[in-house]
Amino acid sequence: MTIIDQTDAVPAPRDGESTGPLLDVRDLHVEFHTREGVVRAVNGVNYSVNSGETLAVLGESGSGKSVTAQAIMGILDMPPARIPQGEIRFHGRDMLAMSEEERRKIRGARIAMIFQDALSSLNPVLSVGFQLGEMFRVHQGMSRKDAKAKAVELMDRVKIPAAAARVNDYPHQFSGGMRQRIMIAMALALEPDLIIADEPTTALDVTVQAQVMDLLAELQREYRMGLILITHDLGVVADVADKIAVMYAGRIVETAPVHELYKRPAHPYTRGLLDSIPRLDQKGQELYAIKGLPPNLLKVPKGCAFNPRCDRAQDVCRTDVPPLVQVTERDGTALPGRASACHFWKETIHG
C-alpha cells in the first residue's frame, strides 16, 4: 500500500521530476492607479519555469517585464500597484493567496532576486559581509560570527579575490563587476529554487558582463536552479537561455526555445528586434530600427498593441487583440514551446 504524503505542500524540487513547473505565472494582470488614470503595466502574462531551466524575458523599457518580476517577488508597492487577477504558482501553490509572512519566508530563501544596479541595491552604510550574513541571520537565525564565516565562503564562491580580507569592506569600495558578484552571492546564499535576475549585466561594461553571465550560468547549472533572466540584450540571451518570452506593452507576444526564435521569429516585433542587432556581415548598410515608440500604457492602442509600428498591420490588427496561439510548421505539425500573438504569424514565420 502506498501512502501519499499530502502534508508537504512545497515538495522538494531538485530530486527528480516534481509535479508541474517550478513557477507558473497564469494570466497575471498588474495595474497602477495614478493621478492620470489606470496604467495597465501587465495584461495577462503566462509563463512557466522548471528547475534548472532558464527563461529569458525580453522586451523594451516599459514592456512590463520588471513589473512581472516584482509581482512574483511580492515587492510591488501596493498601492499604487494592484493585481486584479492572475495566479503565481510556486511549486503548485498560488503565492498571491499566501499571507505576507509566508511570502516573506519564501523571499530570499526559495526565490531570490538580482537587481540591475548593484551599487544602489547594496546598502551603502553596511559592510558587504554584514549584508551577506544577514541572509543567514534572518532566515536561519545564525549567529553573527557563523554568518560572517558563511559570507566569506560565499564571496569565494563568486570568485571575489581575497574574500576574507574584503568581507568588512563597504559596497563603494568594490568595482562594478565585483559588486554584481556580491549581489549574486546574496541571491545564492540560501540556495533558492528560483532566481530572478533583472537586467543583471546592464550596468556593467562588456568584458565584465560576459564574466558575470558565465558565473551566473555556472552556478545555476550547479545548483539546478530555475532562472528568469530579464533583459533587453539579445546577445546575453543567446548564450544562456533555454527559452524566451518576448514582452510588448504588458503582454507576451511570442514564446519560443532560444535558437528557434533566432532562426525563425513568428512575430513582427521579434523580427524587428533581431533585425536591429548590428551585424558584421552587413557592414556599411544602414542599421534597421523599429519605427515609432513603445505605447503609452495609459492608452494602449486598440487591437494589437504593436499595430502602429508594424509593417504588416492590416485592419484586423487595429480592431482585434490577437490571442497567443500555438505556432505550427507549414504542414500543421506543432512546434513545441512556440506561440505567437500575431494575426499573421504564418506569414511572419514561413515568409
Binding site: 515587492i75 531570490a112 532576486m113 546598502n123 553596511l126 532566515h139 570568485k159 568595482s175 568584458t207 533581431l274
Partner: protein
C-alpha cells in the same frame, strides 16, 4: 540568419585580472562615510579648539570641586559685606550683589547649562527621531496627522510656550527647563528624520533587502536608520549650543531656572542693573555662556562640513 548574431568576448584570465585591478583601485579609496568624516574631522583646527573647550566644560560640569575650593551651597558662602566687590586676588571674578563669589558660581553654573543642553538634545532627538521615522515609514494619513501635530508644536514661539508650560507645571530647575525646550524643539528633528526616511525608503537597497526576505522592522532599523543618521548627528550637535543659549535666555527672562539653582542667564539678569558701576558681575557669566555656545556651534559646524556630502 545565423544562430548567434552577436559574439561576446569570452572570459579569460586577462579580463579577470583587469577587473581585479579596477576593484583594488576602488578599495584604495577611503572607507565608510563615518570613518571618512572622522578622518576629515581630526584634521580641522576648529574641531580641536572646540573639542578642547567642550572637554573643559564637561570637566567643570562633572567635577566642579576640582576647579574651586568653595561650594556655593555651603553656609556663609555669600557675605553681604562683599557685595559688588571687583575682582581681587583669590577672588578673580569678584563678588555679586549678594556678596557671593562669582568664580565659584560660574564654575557651578556650567553643570546646569550642560545638563539642559544634553538632556534637551537627547529628548528632542529621541522624540523627533522616533515620530519622524514612524511618519516617514508609514506615510499616508498617519504621516499627515503627525505632521500637523508637529506643526502645532513648532508654531508656538519659545517664550510663549515657555511661559505657558511654566505657568502650568511650575518648576524652575534644570528638568522643567529641559522639558519646555524638548516639547518645543522636537519638531525640528522630526522634519529632518521624516524627510531622510522618505528619501531613503524608495532606494533600491530597500527593495533588495525586501526581496531577500527582510521584515519591516529589520528594514527600518538595520537598513534605513543608519542611512538617516548623518544629518541627524549634524543638527543634534549644533542644537546643543542653541539649547544652552535658549536656557540662558529663558532664565534671564525669569521663566527658566530659578533660585536657588545657579544659571548663567540668571546671573546675567541679576547683574544688568549695576552694569555701569560694576561690569564684572555681568561680564564673567556672559563670557562663560558665550564661550560655551560658541564651542558647541563651532563643533556643529565642523561636524556638518565633515559629514554632509552636499557641503563638499
Amino acid at each position: 540568419m545565423s544562430e548567434k548574431t552577436i559574439e561576446r568576448p569570452t572570459t579569460d584570465e586577462a579580463a579577470l585580472a583587469k577587473e581585479i585591478e579596477a576593484d583594488e583601485k576602488a578599495a584604495a579609496r577611503q572607507a565608510s562615510l563615518l570613518k571618512d568624516g572622522w578622518a576629515d574631522l581630526r584634521k580641522r583646527p576648529m574641531f580641536i579648539v572646540s573639542g578642547l573647550v567642550i572637554l573643559l566644560l564637561l570637566a567643570l560640569a562633572v567635577a566642579p570641586g576640582l576647579f574651586t575650593a568653595r561650594s556655593p551651597f555651603s553656609d556663609g558662602f555669600c557675605q553681604l559685606q562683599n557685595s559688588m566687590t571687583p575682582p581681587t586676588s583669590g577672588h578673580l571674578f569678584g563678588y555679586d550683589v549678594q556678596g557671593c563669589d562669582i568664580y565659584t558660581r560660574t564654575v557651578y553654573g556650567a553643570r546646569n547649562s550642560i545638563i539642559v543642553g544634553v538632556v534637551t538634545t537627547i529628548a528632542t532627538t529621541l522624540i523627533g527621531g522616533l515620530v519622524g521615522m514612524l511618519a516617514g515609514l508609514i506615510g499616508g494619513w498617519i504621516d499627515a496627522l503627525l505632521s500637523r501635530v508637529t506643526e502645532v508644536f513648532s508654531a508656538l514661539p519659545l517664550l510663549v510656550g515657555g511661559l505657558l508650560i511654566m505657568s502650568i507645571w511650575g518648576g524652575g530647575d534644570v528638568w522643567s527647563v529641559s522639558l519646555i525646550m524638548a516639547v518645543l524643539g522636537w519638531p525640528q528633528v522630526f522634519r529632518i528624520m521624516r524627510g531622510e526616511v522618505i528619501s531613503n525608503k524608495y532606494n533600491d537597497y530597500v527593495a533588495a533587502a525586501r526581496a531577500l526576505g527582510a521584515g519591516s522592522g529589520r528594514i527600518a532599523f538595520r537598513h534605513i536608520l543608519p542611512n538617516t543618521l548623518a544629518p541627524v548627528i549634524v543638527i543634534t550637535t549644533m542644537n546643543l549650543g542653541v539649547y544652552i543659549a535658549a536656557e540662558a535666555a529663558l532664565s534671564y527672562l525669569g521663566i527658566g531656572i530659578q533660585y536657588p539653582n545657579i544659571s548663567w542667564g540668571l546671573m546675567i539678569s541679576d547683574a544688568q542693573d549695576r552694569f555701569l558701576t560694576s561690569p564684572h558681575a555681568l561680564l564673567f557669566p556672559a563670557g562663560a555662556l558665550s564661550i560655551t555656545v560658541l564651542a558647541f556651534i563651532m563643533l556643529g559646524d565642523v561636524v556638518r562640513d565633515a559629514f554632509d556630502p552636499k557641503m563638499r
